[in-house]
Amino acid sequence: MSNRFVEMGLRSPVNLTWEMTQACNLKCRHCLSSSGTPAPDELTTAEALSLVDQIHASRVFQVNIGGGEPFMRPDFEEILAACHERGIMTCISTNGTLLNSELIARLAATRLVNIQVSIDGANRETCDAIRGTGTFDAAIKALKLLAPTTIATSMNTVLTAQNAGEIPALYDMSHSLGVSLRVSRFRPSGRGVDNWEELRPTPTQLLAFSAWLSESGDVRTGDSFFSLTTQERQGLGLNLCGAAKLTACVGPNGNVYPCAFLQSAPFKAGSLRESTFQEIWDSSEIFNSFRRLRIHSCEDCRRFDQCHGGCPAVAWHLKNEISGGDPECLERCVTTIAEQAKDAEAA
């Protein structure tokens, strides 16, 4: 039902992903943007504040802030305050290492902040192997500081081959900490390209996660447009890729893309140093091509109404095309497992 309204074209995104900096004090092996050192041409404070004015004028409801590690930006709180003064909801994705009780108290005062703390395993060894030594303990410490506050907090896990078996334990951990769990899909972008083969979940793991997710109603997943539970997503009817329809991404230097996983030259919709955000949203040919995108090869699939062809970003990174259907979709997992079984039998 709601897809129909989205297909008509919204005046602006519902939410905007803003990769505010490439600076990060970690070097996670799956990082979608290969963060570490700041980009040389990141938006200045004045440019960032101008963007806040623009998205306020465009009536964007929420900004999802990531990076890099956003708290690495010295002016981050100033930019956040500008969002909150304009009534814009902010959701901060952080590794938690720079959070302390004073900072959290300042954030909690606004009532317009959600925080996602990244943690990639229920065990220290699993998490630290992906994110770096000490990251598990730092994330747990941050979550314990956040849990008793008014800030809606979640732990965010990227599903990998290494932690797939620990998701139920992470779920239990989230409950014991008093926060929610959000599981994001691992996509082969940024540093994830280099570590794709090692970290990618197997078809069996993806199917097992899907089955578990359908029974775990309050777990959120990392969609491009929202952080929604399975039930909420089905209730809204929003089962399509939201890139350029419900969401967009601004990179550290003000380049604008359909989504955070497609921050590369072929998908650059414009630059905030050359056009306003609204101009890019209204007129970008890249954005219009995503709005016209139909995954015809998937239309006969029994799952089509549930996924509409899946994630174009995964299709791009694995097959160098966005219109060929998601190579890692659940239906293909089933097919792959059957083919592997057949091969094994033949051998």
Binding site: L10, S12, F61, M89
Partner: protein, 82 residues
């Protein structure tokens, strides 16, 4: 439950779209798509104009449509309780 008027809950936002109005609840977050066409402006939900005065200017069909929307918004918590 206390009656509700037409003032948006502080955690909710609304903006106009081609099809009508798009509501957003920060607490979810949740979206609500209202196919109201040009019948309603987002300002209506500032609560400054009494609902009855606004509805009185509409024909029966539109009045029913807006009343139905207000009931839905109240049920889903998009409006402040009075």
């Amino acid at each position: 439950m206390a009656a509700a008027g037409n003032k948006l809950h502080p955690a909710c936002r609304v903006r106009s779209e081609k099809f009508g109005l798009l509501f957003y609840d920060l607490r979810g977050p949740r979206l609500l798509f209202a196919e109201t066409g040009a019948l309603l402006e987002p300002d209506f939900f500032s609560g400054n104009e009494p609902v009855d005065a606004f509805l009185g200017r509409l024909d029966l069909r539109d009045r029913n449509k807006i009343q139905g929307l207000l009931v839905k918004l109240r049920e889903k918590g998009y409006l402040s309780e009075q």
